[in-house]
Symmetry: C2
């Protein structure tokens, strides 16, 4: 075998460009990288390992000869083209919400549930950014002490809403600082009726509301965590908030464990050894993770672990990760790495 | 009586200037406003009701003839000069943490525990900003349904750390956007060893850490809430986080009530009628409070009230208020108003 042919759908987007970067160091051989986008972005040139590649418009015929197709161009594009890619024999790893809750589709964080990759129908789903970093940190704690309950409040970066939202935040920040009029056209949710400024603000809405007053982002954290951990009994409520940070989601997480022999020191020891997790936790040295220090790093960072004052099973912690890397591009490429490692991808050229 | 003589200590600071603004519309007569500051700021001129007033250095003799002294210049200044002001016959309303937990000193949010004002030894303490807005919103709910437990994650504005921190945030933001080097010299805590940038970041540290891994700000929320509500049995854990917002603290608050006949609609009804609280809660219209919309307003704003998915006594909500107004200057002046209303201030000129 001389490597896989890999397609990146949504190659010019905030996540797509990071996927290309992650592919440069992927732990599997790559024969070809095919960059796909909307008609509007087709023709642009992007660099993969010092080679310029022209971006092509995504069509039904784009997937001929492709072994692995990494989708990150919105749910509608995934619904339209992922089945085409599968028909052509590709493994699809989809970074949108289109297939995440489909019972036929594995929803995978490689450190947590790699075994779910064994059984699929061509499509693997990459979880939501805010879910990934939380379950990566909580899984080792759950393995050791069990996990009854999670209450999480998020501090989410604007890049999660794409490059245009990022540009809008910077424009608003500049205009506010210059005391000039500013506009809001994108956040809190591209598809919603009203838009509010994010610069120097905090918006307690990510994605649209359901009839119970929760947002889709909040439901994603609840439902995806249960699916990834394979445990419907876990109690989990989320409050998802967008803040004026470019890259890196932070999460204030309260948990209740089942085994009350747990302790802050034991949790720290477990996270110190956990794959994909870096412990940054020493209050006496003001050591804790922040969005800026997590930027461009693949790991999930955990700090501020402390015993709840009122519940012997309760702990608080602060979980931070680059939402475009572990929260999106890196977890996507990591799924492909894991499937390669487990011999779950048959290159078409060998078939 | 032709009005009180009012001193503002720390008149040139972020809170002091707001106190002067609040005094312009105070519901009690004012004969004289005396503006006091450090030696460094003395000589500056500030405007009260279209009249320029020269700021004087605070000394032991500054309080002669003063009826009400409003302190907001840091705990050390309060400890040094508040007893002097009391000796001169003034009522001190102190906006620092110096006296808050002193059992002799009432700690007051006028909508919550005005009765505590009846018994004092000359000093009244204004609670911490993040505490005030939370208890103002939770008190009416507690009255109706009881309150067992609170878990709060804060999204706190930079102005809470003073004008110099605000300037540093704007400087950092400009430098980051211009891709220039930036410095951090103030946050997370003026008196601590290390400093981190706040622009486009979230810092999970406000004030210094104790040996249990909580910050002083987090302890303030716990201890002050118990004192104001007069209930040591309330369980309360906080995670206090600074975010790049200029004015307006936001709080993601989870509560458990005692009376499970509560409902989202009943809680909304109660908050609709609560003094000092404005309900902004309609997910179908994307209505919820934000820091930018709460800026320069006196009220505490509440939205995103929803039932917890896993606990029949549990509710989540989003509480926002201008940290310099209800969180500081307005609550301070409001305490003076309430004391005037309750006939608790004897003007020296009448004695």
């Amino acid at each position: 075998m001389n490597g896989y042919s890999v397609a990146v759908v949504g190659a010019t987007g905030a996540v797509g460009t990071k996927i290309i970067k992650m592919l440069e160091n992927a732990a599997f051989p790559i024969k070809e990288v095919r960059l796909l986008s909307s008609k509007r972005s087709a023709g642009k040139k992007l660099v993969f390992k010092d080679t310029e590649i022209e971006v092509q418009e995504t069509t039904e015929d784009s997937f001929s000869g492709i072994d692995i197709a990494l989708f990150s161009a919105g749910g509608d594009i995934s619904k339209k083209f992922a089945p085409e890619a599968v028909k052509h024999g590709a493994i699809v790893i989809d970074n949108t919400s289109a297939y995440r809750m489909d019972p036929e589709v594995p929803l995978v964080v490689p450190e947590v549930n790699p075994e779910a990759l064994e059984k699929h129908s061509g499509i693997i789903a990459n979880p939501n950014c805010s879910t990934i970093q939380m379950v990566a940190a909580l899984h080792p704690i759950r393995k050791a002490f069990g996990l009854d309950r999670v209450i999480v409040s998020t501090y989410q970066a604007v890049s999660g809403a794409g490059n245009s939202a990022l540009k809008e935040m910077y424009d608003q920040a500049q205009q506010m600082m210059d005391d000039k009029p500013y506009e809001a056209n994108i956040l809190p949710a591209g598809g919603d009726k009203k838009h509010f400024p994010i610069a120097f603000n905090a918006l307690p809405q990510i994605d649209v509301f359901d009839e119970k007053g929760y947002t889709k982002e909040e439901w994603k954290m609840t439902n995806e965590t249960k699916k990834i951990m394979g445990d419907d009994a876990i109690k989990l409520s989320a409050t998802c908030v967008r803040i004026p940070v470019a890259y890196g989601h932070s999460e204030s997480v309260y948990i209740e464990v089942k085994d009350t022999t747990a302790s802050v020191e034991k949790i720290r020891d477990i996270l110190r050894k956990a794959p994909g997790v870096t412990l940054e936790d020493d209050p006496s040295e003001q050591m804790y993770p922040t969005a800026l220090t997590a930027e461009n790093k693949k790991d999930v960072f955990v700090g501020r672990i402390r015993k709840d004052l009122d519940d012997e099973a309760g702990y608080h912690m602060w979980i931070v990760s680059d939402n475009l890397l572990k929260g999106a591009a890196w977890n996507t490429v990591q799924i492909a790495e894991k499937m390669h490692e487990l011999n779950l991808i048959q290159p078409l050229s060998n078939k």
